[in-house]
Symmetry: C2
Subunit: 313 residues, 2 copies
């Protein structure tokens, strides 16, 4: 059994490779998946998650991660999501590798958003706006730029500007130039791709301001009480999800649906249908596309298979 | 994160230590546990299991193992149970170690039976009979001898005698002397402790032959259609389980209960009650005690905590 460190995960799963691996994985049927979400018996609100996926003769993969939001307030701060992804031979159950869970989670989440942009963003998209400057922000920047190499400007907005500037400095050290913006509405109005990676409970992106042709990628708001965009985004946009499994918990979907603004039937397709061409995706340059990144164990499984394939070659 | 190999697991979790660690762990309340049992989507009958346990501020542990019976028929044969046990810091979710799953499973299963003998077997037990010569047999021998150092003779019976002789040869190489017996009934009649570790679907141990004072440990028959002992064992014996969680699937319990021979209320206590002294266990030298080893994720968690403690010192 091989240990794959965070550094190796990031090196092996570059976004052009991983986005294409996810696209190819979506050409088949959804694999088997099952989850355990355990609440801390001590009542802290922390959770521990076990996601199991079994893809025929491809792989068995299990992600085991803690979701401990308070880690960010520790001294020194720790990642809120930590754990591992383990991959097993589907013909014998033999453990093959154990990979860093935080790195695998960042990679699969951002590549999933990148895949949405590959299917849905305009091919000439130039301006990317990232809303939120947390751990996922550098990853969605890399993933969207991999999906749309036409992107030439990256704007970052964050509720606390200091964090956006810290991200800017970190990325500058890696040769990636981003602009910190303070006027979110103005940035929304000029962006071709908007990626929201926040823990917000109130809408940030106003649908009335969206430029025709924009692609809106929604990564946060994974709980019913969370929200990243307003109802107008959902009524102006053509709606997609990466997967329908678990989408009922996403605040940006369940809130406008509960309010009667849209119905579940407003969702046009998922990544399987987009990959397989049963839905064409974007149909005109002025169309506004909205894709809710719901996530799920199948993406961890697909990412683990992509990692295995890289290690085997 | 530390990798703990099978060899290290076996070295660190010697049975006197692990049985006492399990006993101490049973002094507290049962920890949180949840399971996924996934069937191979290819329809082979193979299964993959995720057991998650969370013990307050003790540890979070997850066992991920495949159960692939056909592995034994591969060339070369492989273990039917393979996988890993991962342990996480319960205050941050940080992964601490990954240990070999087969070794951890053998150790926790045998130590659980040893704990039953510690609570229930006569203190002057001399003759141990092990029924079955598979992978668990050397472990239950070591565990029962750790629980009852008075054991001076070990008899092994197996459906195919060649396998019992192979076990005898292997153990002789480690300085452990066992006698292979061909007459199971005669061996049952003289044993002070009987440990059944088979995949049998028909009763092997006849209750009418049990010696007064014997302790009967039942490890196989984890499915409703399996059976290691007959109804008379259950009516002559005082019945115990390691845990009530999952006991309804054990053929040696559910079959006589379905037949009306005994009721679920025949089960006097579990390992938590025995450890905490709310049930006295054996009350007289001539009492026949029967303990069904049901197993469960809490035992994997307790064993993982014991491994962590050994590595920390």
């Amino acid at each position: 059994m091989q240990l794959v460190t965070a550094e190796e995960v990031h090196r092996l799963l570059d976004y052009p490779y991983l986005i294409d691996a996810l696209r190819r994985a979506h050409l088949g049927p959804p694999p088997f998946g099952a989850n355990i979400v355990a609440d801390d018996p001590a009542g802290t609100g922390n959770q521990f998650v076990s996601l199991l996926g079994w893809n025929g003769h491809g792989a068995i993969a299990a992600k085991l991660v803690g979701v401990f939001p308070g880690n960010l307030q520790l001294d020194p701060p720790q990642a809120s999501v930590q754990g591992l992804v383990a991959v097993f031979d589907p013909d014998t159950g033999t453990p093959k590798l154990v990979a860093d869970g935080e790195a695998m989670t960042f990679r699969k989440t951002a590549a999933d958003s990148g895949l949405g942009a590959l299917f849905l963003a305009r091919e000439d998209a130039e301006i990317l706006l990232v809303v939120g400057a947390g751990g996922l922000a550098p990853h969605v920047i890399a993933a969207h730029c991999a999906a749309r190499p036409s992107i030439s400007r990256v704007l970052v907005w964050n509720r606390t500007p200091a964090r956006a500037r810290a991200l800017q400095a970190t990325l500058a050290g890696r040769g990636v130039s981003v602009e910190v913006v303070s006027d979110l509405d103005a940035a929304v109005a000029c962006a071709d791709v908007i990626s929201c990676v926040t823990m917000s409970r109130a809408p940030l992106v106003k649908g009335a301001l969206l430029k025709p042709g924009v692609h809106l990628d929604l990564v946060g708001a994974y709980r019913p009480e969370m929200r990243e965009c307003d109802d107008t985004c959902m009524t102006r946009g053509t709606l997609f999800v990466d997967t329908r499994g678990g989408m009922e918990s996403a605040g940006d979907l369940c809130q406008p649906i509960a309010a009667g603004v849209i119905g579940w039937d407003a969702i046009q397709a998922d990544h399987f249908e987009l990959a397989q061409g049963t839905h064409p995706g974007r149909t005109r340059d002025t169309e506004i596309t909205v894709c809710k990144n719901v996530g799920g164990g199948h993406l961890d499984l697909f990412s683990a298979e992509a990692l295995m394939a890289r290690l085997d070659t």
